[in-house]
Amino acid sequence: MQGLESFFEVGLNHYLILSTLLFACGLAGVLLRRNVIVIMMSIELMLNGVNLSFVAFSKYMAMLEGQIMVFFVMTIAAAEAAVGLALAVAIFKRFREVNIRYFEQLKG
């Protein structure tokens, strides 16, 4: 019966677990993928997972600071995406591919 209850009564833990799973997906993407852009998307996924937990905490602990944090994270994520994509474009112009391994030689 406990299991069913936890199915119907959605609480903080549900959001946290979901957030963890999103984060883990993102982490797997970062570790395993080769395409730089996909890696960046995975990072966005991780950030989203964290954001979700922030908002969940914000609601269940009645503190708005969590949402402020999400606001900041979003902005920084957007900035990161812009710079990352610019880098990817630069790499692509040079190698006609966006494999992460081309980032190893920082000299380009």
Binding site: V30, L31, L32, I100, R101, F103, E104, L106
Partner: protein, 656 residues
């Protein structure tokens, strides 16, 4: 307007001049740069005049009638250093001592700037030259007005830098560049001692402001007499070594004759009138402190006297017009130190001032001669220039009369005061007077020799050289300095003569300085008959020597050659400057270099390098293993982060 405004004008007008010329040195011609620089210096001089005027009126305002007035204008610009206990503010002070200095520095400095316009007319790097000159002026003013040792040290180092830059101004000539380097390095030894002195003072007294230092020195009055190892004695000794570096005293005087490689106006300004007197100034500035250390005073007096006579003796034999003047400068600085050493600080300041006038005059005169002779400096190739260079000759003669101490020219009063104080002061000694008098005699001889060989007698000018009088920008400063060389001494007419004169001019300078200088412990000896006797003795001796030199050199005598032959080895010793440079090389520099070479070979190469090779091989081996961890593969790094997270999380979970 208040003192702060004038002080800022005083300090920063040369700095701004420097910046203007310094940034645009490629674009300014000699005339433009010279006018800018001279204007900056002149503005500074006007500010100095205003400040001194305020300072003098200070007395009249507050306590009319009394001679001992606490005259002091202090300006605190900003907090410069605040490190632990050490608090130094960029504060500047105008009191009688620095007042004399700023007048001399900016006044003589402006004249020399003006002179330089003519002198450097044809030089391609004139704007750079003027920029350096202005920078020098700024640093010198910081040096003399700074209210604490660190601020003074900024100026001290700044003038050293400018001196280096200007000695090596024609740096394409290797010898001249080397002369600059020599000056710089020799000064560095003195500066190290100066810094050590500062450290000890900070340790002993806890502050580096002059006022606190001079007041704090009284704390040790109970412990008198202070021994050799007392911090005050040590500190003053170190500071004195610093002063010997800057002011070219034994043993660090060797750089000054070589410094004549720079343009002649520079020699006049930096290496005769102002910078080299910084050491004297510093000692006068800290007179209360030095008075606490009689042992140091003794050393200063002995070193001063020895330098005076030794440099004078070298001067007897030199043929280069500037070298003669350079040794003369060293000798005169020796007199100043002698005065300091016997506690006659006001006499030292007095001589500093008069010397600045007449030595600057003579250097500029020599510059004019050299300019006329197309860069020829050997006096054997001159002679009879009186006709070609009438103004230069006239002013040079004024300087000559001043330096050999003929009354009523400036040098007479100041030199005589020093000699009298050497004799009469409780810190003095008759033996010192004898040495000083001997130096004065030699001075008279070699200066007369110089003038005679240069201006009088027959012309030995090589064919093809047609000496001509210099342009007005050069002769006007000569004239002004000539007048100053005559009247400059009247500021310090001794009491003895002053009382006999119709207007009863007392020793103005001494009363002006009175409050800033600690009186001698034993009080003044006032044996007027003895004073008159000594005075006459020195004048007679100097005149006699001058006459002798005139006979020898103006009248084409063979006596000098015969005397040189008779003296033989001793003459060669003196002619070669006592082989001091060579001795330094043999005793210090070469052994040091050999030792360094040995150190380099045995310690660096054999020991340290071998050890580090072993170490580096080990580390490289380890590194190549660790490098495989840091492959540049970003995902691997991310994996490390992930592993770290896992580890931390497990620790947290397991523990709590």
């Amino acid at each position: 307007m208040d003192a702060q405004f004038f002080l800022i004008v005083l300090l920063f007008s040369p700095l701004i001049g420097f910046l203007i010329n310094g940034f645009r040195y490629r674009h300014h011609s000699a005339n433009v740069a010279g006018i800018i620089a001279t204007a900056a210096a002149g503005l500074s001089f006007l500010a100095a005049l205003a400040l001194v005027f305020q300072l003098v009126n200070f007395a009249a305002d507050s306590q009319a009638g009394t001679s001992a007035v606490h005259r002091r204008l202090a300006v605190d610009l900003f907090q410069w250093l605040d490190v632990g206990l050490l608090k130094v503010s960029a504060s500047f002070v105008i009191d009688p001592i620095s007042a004399i200095m700023i007048l001399v520095v900016t006044g003589v400095g402006s004249l020399i700037h003006l002179f330089s316009i003519g002198y450097m007319h044809h030089d391609a790097g004139a704007a750079k030259y003027f920029a350096y000159l202005n920078l020098f002026l700024f640093n010198m003013l910081v040096l003399v007005t700074g209210e604490s040792l660190p601020v003074m040290f900024v100026g001290w180092e700044g003038v050293g830098l400018c001196s280096y830059l200007l000695i090596g101004f024609w740096f394409t000539d290797e010898q001249k560049a080397a002369a600059g380097m020599k000056a710089f390095i020799t000064n560095r030894i003195g500066d190290a001692a100066f810094v050590l002195g500062m450290f000890i003072l900070f340790f002993a007294i806890g502050s580096l402001s002059f006022q606190t230092l001079n007041e704090g020195a009284r704390r040790f009055a109970d412990e008198a007499p202070l021994g050799w190892l007392h911090p005050i004695t040590l500190a003053t000794l170190f500071l004195f070594i610093g002063a010997t570096g800057k002011s070219a005293q034994i043993p660090l005087y060797v750089w000054l004759p070589d410094a004549m490689a720079g343009p002649t106006p520079v020699s006049a300004l930096i290496h005769a009138a102002t910078m080299v007197t910084a050491g004297v100034y510093m000692i006068v500035r800290l007179n209360a402190l030095f008075m606490m250390a009689p042992l140091t005073m003794m050393i200063i007096a002995i070193v001063g006297a020895l330098t005076a006579v030794m440099a004078a003796s070298i001067g007897l034999t030199q043929w280069d017009i500037k070298k003669v003047l350079a040794y003369s400068t060293v000798s005169q600085l020796g007199y100043m130190f002698l005065a300091c050493g016997v506690g006659a600080f006001s006499a030292a300041m007095f001589h500093l001032m008069t010397h600045a006038f007449f030595k600057a005059l003579m250097f500029l005169g020599s510059g004019s001669v050299i300019h006329a002779m197309h860069e020829e400096q050997d006096i054997r190739k001159m002679g009879g220039l009186r006709k070609a260079l009438p103004i230069t000759h006239a002013t040079f003669v004024l300087g000559w009369l001043a330096i050999i101490g003929i009354p009523p020219f400036a040098g007479f009063f100041s030199k005589d005061e020093i000699l009298w104080k050497t004799f009469s002061s409780p810190l003095g000694h008759p033996l010192l007077w004898v040495v000083g008098a001997a130096g004065a005699m030699m001075t008279a001889f070699y200066m007369t020799r110089l003038v005679a060989l240069t201006f009088w007698g027959e012309s030995r000018v090589p064919k093809g050289v047609h000496p001509h009088e210099s342009p007005p920008t050069m002769t006007i400063p000569l004239g002004v300095l000539g007048v100053l060389s005559v009247v400059g001494g009247w500021l310090g007419i001794p009491h003895l003569i002053g009382s006999a004169m119709p207007f009863h001019t007392d020793n103005i300078l001494e009363s002006f300085l009175a409050h800033s200088i600690v009186p001698l412990p034993g009080g003044e000896s006032s044996d007027s008959s003895l004073e008159v006797g000594l005075m006459l003795t020195s004048v007679v001796l100097a005149s006699a020597m001058a006459g002798l030199a005139f006979l020898f050199y103006a009248k084409k005598s063979t006596a000098p050659a015969r005397i040189a032959e008779a003296l033989g080895g001793f003459y060669r010793l003196v002619y070669n400057k006592y082989f001091v440079d060579e001795a330094y090389f043999r005793a210090l520099i070469n052994p040091l270099m050999r030792a360094s070479q040995k150190l380099w070979y045995y310690v660096d190469v054999s020991l340290i390098d071998r050890t580090t090779y072993v170490l580096s091989d080990t580390i490289r081996g380890g590194g190549s293993f660790v490098r495989s961890l840091q492959s540049g593969n970003l995902q691997q790094y991310a994996l490390y982060i992930g592993l770290g997270v896992v580890t931390v999380l497990s620790i947290i979970l397991v523990r709590g």
